[in-house]
Symmetry: none
Subunit: 410 residues, 2 copies
């Protein structure tokens, strides 16, 4: 059931306002089992709107359109829809009554331009708008059902749920089964190669999405049996490269592991500049296990707050294994935490040398009994290096917590 | 010059990931003077990609395509482009060399699937990708020039600026004149009301864009004279609500003020969890004026690292004016900085009380001679509250630095 989503508005086409309705609708429609194959934005140009809708009506069975139903002169969606259907606009008396009542309640006069909001193409089915002034409507064009909703997100969402979703759901045979694996530590191509052949063997489709060092793999399967068989194969091949099944972020997985083990964490950051602390405190409940962080940009702060020896900094430099270790141990002590992380590196774009190019990052994790060290050579711009270093630190912590519990069990 | 923007990816079509590239490109293209009439998202389906591109190539003179250039089996853009042009894919030796060098630098083997990233449609012009593995390319189809860029935002943006923008700009007769003002502290409707009448008086268009407490106002004018007259009117009406003209972020403006005054800054954060430190260190050169930060989630850390008296925390609670002041003063001293910022509050969603609901934030700024305090009641979810609190702290610092220099001069 191919479905298209269309947003109408010049401010959207120019990128002045970022469209939030499109991705929301796409997610809802996909959840209902529709196959969303196209999202479009068209500017407030009546011939263009008509043209785009007429094309989409040929290629899709459902088209959900938002925007351009307001009272101003640049709101042209209902005219374009009437054009498309070859009918005229007619006044819908119940919508007019609702409009009058609404304005009366607000103590405002009903202006001429507002009257247009009670008009719909002749023969269209009206979709009531309980939250606003613009009536929606739906109509059949070619083999497609077109739904027209206002662009105001709250009104659009309420009307979609009450009037559009039931109609779509009744037409969908069955939603595809899916499961998402989130991995960290290898590139998209490595993961793709590791999963070679699974699509053919199990009759499923794999989709990949990479962002900031994490690679998501989604299995889309026609049936539960093939989904489970393919999921087992993915688990087997990727092992603990997978940090989550589902939607959890890495920091949420780490939070869960720390909570289960009743451990607390303190962090010391230099090149990541607070990025790791920010990630850790993005989600509620961090105060149960996060003791705090220190961002020591100046060397003196490394010495004063973390106890990194001044002579060490002078001898080996701030970006070095011994300093990362001392920062991790210092964070653990200064913040009275069970575990400490230290990160020092060169995020760039300046500050690189032949020995220590931009992207050189030293990570350390202090557990009290040992301090683990890792040297990374990261690529990307300043923001990417900061983000990847923070993610790598979290992944190292995750693996250490998992390994420790495996080693300790049995 | 009608221009279309296309994003490719099933995860975008399904709304799993919200497309950020489309609106960014639309804004940049509009700024160059192109008329963006269509933004589309297409899923990873080769025939559909080819079909959409072939249609857009008829209706537009430029088409900018992002995504689907990765190494995995669902990356089909280059195949679709080759189909569209009726040519085959060929290996581009310089891109292959760049790919090999990149993998060698990382110490990783070049996998078979990565080789596809050095392929382009025969006859296409290659657009180099300095930040990643996927080469971009451009080709002529019908009367349109098509540009293909990777979907990774950083790579896409860098390549757009170096390879696409100059080409588009050279084809545009005349870009509308524009100037952007960035304001902080008042809502969109307040700013809109304050600028009432400027459009009619000067024959310009004003566009508004709100995000995280900042409201941008853009003047679009047909000529230099009207642009300057309107800009003067905006400056006069908004005063130092405007923190920048152009594209600077608030933290860059603050950095500039600190550098000019040869002042250093240290910050102490509780509810913002490192967000402020991260903002301050996003841009290069922060080490010249940023001494460091302390994220004191646990009360004990506030005492140990910042010297906030234990009895004060017990008496008035961590979210209070006296503790914010003590944190700001503590940050200044502990980090040996000229200025200290302290932020403590309730980011939610848990932890609110009748006295101190979620969104209560106490900010303080210590200058050595005085400590300024501000209590905020912020709305939004946890992330928004963290972001708005950090922005408010920066704006307070900005105003203090401006005021101090005004007061000190003459």
């Amino acid at each position: 059931m191919p479905t298209a989503v269309v947003g109408i508005g010049t401010e959207l086409a120019r990128g002045e306002v970022r469209d939030a309705n499109g991705s929301w609708l796409a997610r809802e429609l996909t959840g209902l089992g529709a196959e969303v194959t196209s999202l479009s934005i068209v500017d407030d140009d009546q011939p263009r709107i008509t043209h785009v809708l007429s094309r989409l009506a040929v290629e899709h069975t459902s088209v959900v359109v938002t925007g351009g139903l307001g009272p101003t002169t640049d709101d042209l969606t209902r005219n374009a829809a009437a054009d498309l259907a070859g009918v005229r606009l007619v006044l819908h008396p119940p919508s007019l009554e609702a409009l009058k009542a609404r304005f009366a309640a607000l103590g405002r006069p009903l202006s001429q331009s507002n009257l247009s909001q009670a008009q719909v193409p002749e023969g269209a089915e009206v979709l009531p708008n309980p939250l606003g002034t613009a009536a929606g409507f739906s109509m059949q064009v070619d083999r497609a059902r077109l739904f027209f909703l206002p662009g105001v997100p709250e009104e659009m969402r309420a009307m979609f749920r009450s009037s559009v979703a039931p109609c779509i759901a009744s037409q969908v045979a069955e939603a595809p089964m899916q499961i998402r694996f989130r991995t960290f530590g290898k590139g998209e191509s490595w993961v793709n190669d590791a999963l070679q052949g699974i699509e053919a063997e199990h009759g499923v489709k794999l989709a990949y999405l990479a962002s900031y060092g994490a690679v998501d793999v989604k299995i889309l399967a026609p049936a539960q049996g093939s989904l489970e068989a393919a999921a087992d194969a993915v688990r087997h091949r990727l092992g603990n490269l997978v940090f989550a099944e589902g939607d959890l972020h890495m920091e949420q997985v780490v939070a869960q592991l720390l909570l289960e083990r009743r451990l607390t964490l303190g962090v010391a950051e230099s090149c990541t500049g607070g990025h790791l602390s920010q990630l850790l405190t993005r989600h509620p409940g961090a105060s149960l296990w996060f003791r705090g962080g220190v961002v020591t940009y100046a060397n003196r702060a490394k010495t004063d707050l973390l106890g990194v020896p001044k002579e060490l900094l002078e001898r080996v430099g701030a970006v070095s294994e011994p300093v990362a270790r001392a920062m991790a141990e210092g964070a653990r002590c200064a913040l009275l935490a069970n575990l400490g992380i230290g990160i020092t590196g060169i995020a760039g774009p300046e500050g690189g040398t032949d020995d220590k190019p931009v992207g050189t990052v030293h990570l350390a994790l202090a557990t009290g009994t040992q301090t683990i060290h890792l040297c990374l050579n990261l690529l990307g711009d300043r923001g990417q290096i900061q983000q990847r270093a923070a993610s790598a630190a979290l992944d190292r912590l995750r693996r250490t917590l998992l390994f420790a519990s495996e080693g300790g069990s049995g």
